[in-house]
Symmetry: D2
Subunit: 294 residues, 4 copies
C-alpha cells in the first residue's frame, strides 16, 4: 500500500449463489490485508466465509469502516450491492469471476490491477437509479429503486395491462401491453435490450420506455430525459392488479386505480473503473460484435 492510497479501507461483498465467488473473496481479502489495507466483509457475505478470518460489518454501517465496496460476482451481484453503496455513500468496484460483466469489469486474477485502482488509478462514473413510487390518491405508499430498470407488469401471468402514460403532465399515450420497461442507460443493455430497446450510452441523462409486446405495433421504444417525471395510471378497466419491479430483485404491488410516479433518484451510484476501461470495449465483447453473422 502506498502512503496515501485513494481507498485505504475496503468492504468486500458477494453472494453465495455462484461458484468461485468465495474463493475470489478470500484471495482478495488475503492479498489486500497483506498489502496493508483495512478489509472487512459485509455481514451476510461474512456468514459464508470461515468466521475466524474475517471482520463482519452490517451493511448499514459500512461507511463507518470502509472507503469503498468491492463486490465479487456478476452484474446481478453488483445490482444487489448498489443499493447499499448508495445508502452508505460509498463508491463500488465490480470484480467478475472470470467472465466479463457490463458492471463487473475487473478480472479476478489481476490483483495488482485491482490494487492500482485502490491507489488512485481509477475513473469514477456516476450511474443514476430510477425510483418508482406507488401513489394512492396523492400519497406514496410504497416504492422500489433500480439501477437497471423499473418494470410494470400484471400481477397475474398472461394478462395484458392497460395504462395511461403522462410525462411532465403531458399525456403520452394509452398503452395496452404485457408490461412496460423504463430503463436507465445502465439497464439498456440488460432486459430492455431483449425487448427491442436501444443501447443508451452511460453518459446520457436519458431513460428508454420500452413497451412489452404492445397491442399497437407502432408503440415503439421512446427515449426521454432522465429528468422527466413519468406518471402511469393503472386504468380501472384492468382485470388484475399490477406490480412494479426493480432490477428483477424487488417488487411492490399496484392496485387498479393506483398511479406510479417514476423519476430519477437524486443520488447516483459511484461506479469505479480502471483507467483503461472503455464502455465500447465491453459492448463489443458482450454482444459478440466481432464474430460475423449473429
Amino acid at each position: 500500500m502506498p502512503p496515501n492510497p485513494a481507498f485505504k479501507r475496503i468492504a468486500l461483498m458477494g453472494r453465495q449463489r455462484q461458484n468461485g465467488t468465495y474463493d475470489t473473496l478470500i484471495t482478495l481479502h488475503d492479498y489486500l490485508v497483506d498489502k496493508g489495507y483495512a478489509v472487512v466483509f459485509e455481514k451476510e457475505t461474512a456468514e459464508h466465509v470461515s468466521p475466524q478470518k474475517v471482520n463482519a460489518v452490517a451493511s448499514d454501517e459500512l461507511s463507518q469502516t470502509s472507503d469503498i465496496i468491492i463486490v465479487v460476482g456478476g452484474d446481478g451481484s453488483l445490482l444487489h450491492a448498489a443499493q447499499i453503496a448508495i445508502d452508505q455513500s460509498l463508491p463500488i468496484l465490480g470484480v467478475n469471476r472470470g467472465r466479463l460483466g457490463f458492471l463487473t469489469d475487473m478480472h479476478p486474477n489481476n490483483l495488482p490491477k485491482i490494487e492500482e485502482v485502490l491507489n488512485g488509478h481509477y475513473h469514477e462514473e456516476p450511474r443514476f437509479l430510477l425510483r418508482a413510487e406507488v401513489l394512492k390518491k396523492e400519497e406514496a405508499v410504497a416504492y422500489v429503486e433500480g439501477l437497471n430498470e423499473v418494470v410494470l407488469f400484471p400481477s397475474d401471468v398472461a394478462h395484458m395491462i392497460d395504462f395511461d402514460i403522462m410525462i411532465n403532465q403531458q399525456s403520452v399515450c394509452s398503452l395496452r401491453a404485457d408490461g412496460l420497461i423504463i430503463a436507465t442507460p445502465t439497464g439498456s443493455t440488460a432486459y430492455a435490450l431483449s425487448g427491442g430497446g436501444p443501447i443508451l450510452h452511460p453518459e446520457l441523462n436519458a431513460v428508454a420506455m420500452v413497451p412489452m409486446f404492445p397491442h399497437t405495433l407502432t408503440n415503439r421504444p421512446i427515449v426521454v430525459s432522465a429528468d422527466s417525471h413519468i406518471l402511469i395510471n393503472i386504468s380501472h378497466q384492468n382485470t388484475c392488479d399490477a406490480y412494479a419491479s426493480a432490477d428483477g430483485q424487488r417488487r411492490v404491488q399496484i392496485e387498479v386505480g393506483d398511479r406510479v410516479h417514476i423519476h430519477k433518484k437524486s443520488a447516483p451510484l459511484r461506479l469505479i473503473h480502471p483507467l483503461d476501461y472503455s464502455y465500447f470495449d465491453t459492448l463489443r465483447a458482450k454482444l459478440h460484435w466481432q464474430k460475423g453473422h449473429a
Copy 2:
C-alpha cells in the same frame, strides 16, 4: 396586427411539387398583408406565383426583409427551408396542407391561430442539425448538413459497406451493413424509425446510430450524446465508394479510405410552435396509437 407583434415581417416559402401549396401561400399572403404585416416570398417560391402580387427576395437576403420564415408544405418542405432559416438566423414556422406533419404542425385553415403565433403566442424550440464532413487525410473536402439525419451508404446499390466507427477517439466497432443512419431527435421519427431506431424526444441532446441491415444481428441501435464526435472510416476492403446524404436531399461522395466526421452543427434551427403544441399529441396522431392493433 397589434402594435408590437413578435414577428412583423414575414417571408413565405413552399415548393411547387405538392397540390394546394400555392393556394395556401396566396391565401396566407393576402390575409397577412390585409392585417398589416410586411410579407415577401422567397425568390424560387415567388416564381410559381403570379408575379404582380408579390415581392420576391433571394433566399440569402431574407434576414434583411423578414423576421420569420413561414413554410407551407410537408416535413420535406420544412427540411428544405431549414438550411436557409439557419443561414439567415431566422426562426421558422411550418404550415401543413391539411395533413399534420411532425414539423409542419399548423393547420392552413386556421389563419387567426397563425396570426396569434406571429403576435407572440408561441414556443420556440431549438432543433439541432448534424454536419458530416468528408476528410481526405486531415482535410475536410466536402460536407452535408441535415436536420433529420445523415446516412452513409454505398455508391453502388445492393452492396454492403464496411466501416470502422470511433466516438470521441474510442473505437466503437467495425460494422458491415447496407449503411448507417445517424439521426437527430427530429429525424428519429423519420427514416431511422423505419430502420428500427428508437423515438428520441426532441429535447434530448442525443443522436441515434442505426445500422441498416447489419450483418451481425446484435449490432443494435445506439444512442449517444449529440456532443459526440463520430469518426467513420470507409475501410480499404470496400469494393465501391460511399455517399453521405443529409435529409434525403443532399449528398456528397466518400472515396474508399476517406473518413467522415459527424458532429452537431453549432447553430440550431429555431422551430416555432403555437403555445398548445404537444410533441406527444403529434406522435399519437402520426403513429395511429389510438387505433387498436397496428
Copy 3:
C-alpha cells in the same frame, strides 16, 4: 330460404361481455326464423336472451340440432366457440359487431349476405389447431388446445424460464426467455405479431416459434412445418413452475422436469367465409397499411 340451402339448421353463439352482441343475436335469430331456418341458441348464450323466444341447446349437443354455428362477437368470441365447433364437427361463421375481425369477417348489418352464405355461396377454409400435452415421464397428464397459439410462460411473473427445445427428436436449442409462443397461421396476426413474429398466410401448414424477450438476441422467430412434433423440456434449473396456455383462455400447469409435447390437432376448424372474402383485404384493413407512416 331456398329449397335446399347449404345450412338449414343454425346454432347461434355469443358472449355477454361486449355491447351489442345480444341485439345482433336477436336480430339475426328473428331474421333467420322469418326466412324459415331452424334456429337454436347455445345454452349459455341463451341464458342472457329473453327465454320465451329461444330454443336453448347444450354446447355438446349442437350437432344434433344444427348444421352450422354462427358466432357473434370479436375474434375472442370465435376462439371460444372454435373448440365447440370442432368437438361437434360443425362449421363456423363469424359475424362481428361492426368492427372487422380477422376471424369474424361478416358485418352484422348485411343480413342478406349472411343468408347468401347459408344458401351455399361460401368458401370453407380449414384452420388447424395446436395441442399441447404436459408429459410426466411419458404420460400425458393434461392438455390445452388453441386455434391461435400455445404459450409457455413461468408460473410466477417476472421470471425467465429455461427450456430445451427438440423438433422431431432433433435438438433445436436451449432457450432462456420470458416465454415461448408457438403460433398457427391464424394466430400469427394476434399475440405472436406483437412479439415480432412473421405473418403466416392461413393456407400454410406451418407454425412460428417466437421466443419472448430471449436472453440471446439472435434467438429469432423460426417457422417450421405444422407436422413437426415439438418437445419442450422445462429444465430442472428453473426456480418456478410454468404454464401452457392456449388462446389466452385456458391454461395448465407444467412442473419443473415435465415436458410439453406440441403438435397439430388432427381435426381442423371449418371456417366459413363469403365468396368475396380476401385474407389480404382483412390484413390491409386491420394493420392500417394504407395510412402512411405507421
Copy 4:
C-alpha cells in the same frame, strides 16, 4: 474407392477470391484421384490451378464427365455454383475452408468423411430457387434466379420505391420502402435475417416477403406458399427505375411501369449432406445461440 460408390466421377469448383480455396481443391483432388475417383476441375476453377495436373471441363459440360459437383468455399461460392449444378442436373456438396457455412457444411480436413459421402452415406435435400421475370406488358424480357433470395430495389441509391404487390391475382398491398426481399428458406438465414425476416426451416415450401425499411411500420414480413405467383408492379409514380437481383450476384433492370413475376423454379438444387447433418446444429453454431447475451 468401394466397387460401387454413389458418386464415382467428381467435378471440383471454387473461386479464387478466398485464401486457402486452391490448397483445399488440390488436396481434395489428389486424395480422390489416389482413391480411384475420376476427378475434373470446372474450367474457370482450373485456370487458377497448375495446369499440368488437372482435367478442365467447361461448366456446361460437367454432366458428361461428372456425377457430383464438390464446391470449396463459403456460402457465396456455393450460391455461384448452384446455377451450374441445376443446369447440369448434378447434385452438389459444399466443403468449407475451416469455417462452417449454412450450405458448405463439410470440414476440409476430414477427407475420409467426404469420401464416405461419395460412397453413399449421404442425405439429399432438395432446395428450391426463385425465378424473377421482368415483364413488359405480358412478355418476359429478362430474368434472374436465386437460391437465397430475389431483391427488388431502386436503381438509384437512397430512393424509396413504390410497388403494388399481387399474390395469385389477389391484391396484397401497396408498399413504399427501400426495397423488398423475397427469400427462400435457404435465404432466410442470409440477407433476409438482417432485415428482420423469420428463419424458415428448409423443408418448408414457403417464401418470406420482407419489406426493407417500409414507410408504414406495420408492413411486417409475410410468409406465403412457395407455389404462390407473386406479381409486383413498379408504379409509375416512381422517380427512378428498379433492379431485381438474385443472391447478390446477378441483376436485371426493371423500368417504371414494368412488372416482375416471381415464382418457384421447377427444378430444385440437389444439396448433399453427410448423414449426421442437422440443420439446427448449423443454426446454433452460426447464430452463436449458446453464448449467453447476444
